[in-house]
Symmetry: C2
Subunit: 436 residues, 2 copies
């Protein structure tokens, strides 16, 4: 029963804006970064790591929020948290003075996610299991006990969630064996960033086709003529058999989204991702009705389970793109995956950046094994940047995520990577003038 | 044409939790506080002040965000901002790396509001007018030019907004004269906090009746029996002629809200405020349909214009309770007031805390003079705490806000108040152990 003795948190940044990796209609120059939390314990060799993902500037703000919230974990036994998980989670989200600064949204909530994710990493390591296995081995009652159902019970009650989980409980072992054998399907955005030249884009398409990828995502929304041009190149390279997804990164208004997608429909996209504001449930529903059968995908910037609830119940979302760090960590993601399953919406997690691929492989494996026993329309985002910095390095073969086997949530970074990239004192940043 | 030479920001906290002022179903012990921004200029004697309101712990996080955002104002002339106001506002909300930490929601957005509010204070002072007068004197084209219509144009276009403003442009002077003569109607929450004894509550009801108040708000949501008890006391004291409003501070789920309000309907409340999560548009719409003719009121915790848009267009909100610091300051509030007018929903601003009453008198006066020429169902929250700290002190007579006449946005605090309450070094806090 480890005791959490202290929390440390570091501002870790990678200068990815140098190569225009990650450039899209609204994020011109991201430096993929994270606030990196470690929960230290009184058990020698046992600690838990967790991150929240950021784009560079402002990571120190996440660090400051995490320091403010550390009283919810420091000085507590792991079991005092995991044994009363939903109540612990709710108490931290509702700290009586801090709640005003959210509630359950934005900087406070995504910073809290780093702590929650670190608790789960510690929990999985203390049980000697990868997180997906720890979660998949839990009973329906145990799983439901970690979820705060406040403000979602009009759409999903705890009893209903237990029933849903019980339906497929007996066949979990079959799906676990399947995943261990074949892994989870991935798609690539690497050929889709806005900042690339035509030739480089074609080259990347061929590279990822050769690697086995059959799902390609293209960033759109800069202007329609350019979008059509890039889509033409992608379709020329990948052919008609591969899936093409589009992502506007929130840049359009509702009417513009509908107008543009009527043109871009010529390229037969599977989905349009983030066509407008991530807060606009009703707007996404309008778009979805207007452009069917093209689906609407969104989620990486949706605040919390209450927003996901509305997107799902109103038909505003045909693909549910959970982000592992935006909402309040694993506990809230379980609530969202349960609701998505109730509404028969596939969960296709957001990833890329730094560490997000590591996280989502656990979430999607668990979701398939224990919650939603179908891989129809399920495909996980994959990006091949920055994996060398992680101890439990991502294993992609034939465009499929192979399940991790090391205990934990696969987010622990190498000491040298942390030292070199810590902002602003790491060697990578000392020689630069950019940043904050 | 003043140049903004530097920005200073202070963490100002008042130990209001000592007296259980402000206790409700979800905020047990608020210390009313603010991040207090000053924009210094190269013009002797001219500066602009702005705040964002907080409940104590975490105010230093707002300070850190404001420091991060200061490059959007420091080194710029006031005119370079106000002359291209909507684009400036959008650029600051969409800083390419910081945007991920919102977008346009939570800690980042409410901290940005303090800067926006300070810019407007500086603008009004430089023009020698109180803010309500500066805004009321602007033409429809000028007003619309300060608003970012991104993500709301499916419900309100700039052209439509100009038409709406032009309808009542010729009669602005009549309403201005009326307000200068009679002021704006106020309601009190002072008798409604949860933590008070019955006798003290009765005493407060009589005090505010004697002061001329005819609208009383009661906090509910702790448990139904207690809510019924407190409502009984209020109705006994204020009679049937006065309006009784109820406020659950987000504590209920949708089903619980409907069930509780069917019981509390016996007390004929005018509205139920924040019955559930402030993110739940569809949930509020369900509640509104179930409990009509009792209205649903919400807004103090709604993130931005995109969320207000949905509440208004879906009939989820019968009273629009804008908060002067939660969304992105005056610019975004104009967008929200325009949409409320389009949907014929009265704007009844949230106030209390510290400084919020000062702000809303300007917003509501401007709204009545230039946007929505009716006071039907319009009533402004009033709380009589902490007014002694402000240079342009609030003037309430016969339960009506009297219009401020000093130039600016009425938020400048006395130097001594700032010095004594700065956290943690002010004299009020040095002798205490509570806080952060």
């Amino acid at each position: 029963m480890p005791l959490i003795t202290h929390l440390s948190v570091r501002d870790i940044r990678f200068p990815t804006s140098d190569g225009l990796h990650g450039s899209d209609a609204i994020h011109a120059d991201p430096d993929y970064s994270c606030a990196y939390v470690t929960l230290h314990t009184d058990v020698p060799g046992l600690s838990g790591d967790g991150i929240t993902f950021t784009l560079g500037r402002g990571t120190q703000l996440c660090v400051a929020v995490i320091e403010q919230l550390q009283s919810f974990v420091v000085g507590r036994s792991l079991e005092s948290i995991t044994g009363d998980f939903a109540n612990w989670w709710r108490a931290a989200c509702n700290e009586s003075q801090l709640r005003w600064l959210g509630p359950e949204r934005g900087l406070i909530h995504m910073s809290f996610a780093a702590i929650v994710n670190a608790v789960w990493d510690l929990y999985a390591k203390s049980e000697g299991k990868p997180l997906w296995k720890l979660l998949s081995d839990m009973t329906p009652d145990q799983l439901v006990s970690v979820v705060d159902f406040r403000h979602i019970s009009d759409v999903l009650t705890p009893d209903e969630a237990i029933e849903l989980l019980k339906q497929h409980e007996q066949t979990k072992a079959v799906r676990e064996a399947e995943l261990l054998s074949t892994g989870l399907p991935a798609y690539t955005t690497s050929a889709g960033w806005i900042g690339y030249s035509d030739d480089y884009r074609r080259e990347l398409c061929q590279k990822y086709l050769d690697l086995g990828f059959r799902h390609f995502k293209l960033k759109v929304g800069a202007n329609l003529a350019d979008d059509m041009h890039r889509a033409t190149i992608l379709r020329e390279e990948i052919g008609d058999e591969c899936a093409l997804m589009m992502d506007a990164n929130q840049v359009w208004d509702v009417g513009t989204a509908i107008d543009c997608m009527k043109e871009l429909a010529a390229f037969q996209p599977l989905w349009i991702e983030e066509p407008t504001s991530p807060d606009d449930v009703l707007g996404h529903a309008k778009i979805a009705r207007a452009i069917a059968p093209i689906g609407v995908a969104t989620g990486e910037a949706i605040s919390n389970r209450v927003m996901f609830k509305q997107f799902l119940e109103s038909g505003a979302m045909q693909f549910c793109q959970i982000d592992s760090c935006r909402v309040g960590g694993v506990n809230e993601l379980i609530a969202i995956m349960l609701m998505a399953t109730k509404f028969n919406v596939p969960v296709c997690p957001h990833a890329g950046g730094v560490g997000l691929c590591n996280y989502i492989q656990h979430l999607s494996a668990f979701n398939y094994i224990a919650i939603s026993p179908s891989l129809d329309k399920v495909v996980l985002e994959y990006s091949d940047h920055l994996h060398e910095h992680f101890v439990d390095r991502l294993n992609i073969q034939d465009a499929r995520y192979r399940l991790p086997t090391m205990p934990g949530y696969s987010i622990t970074m190498h000491d040298q990577s942390l030292a070199e990239h810590e902002f602003p004192q790491g060697s990578v940043w000392r020689s630069r003038k950019k940043g904050v």
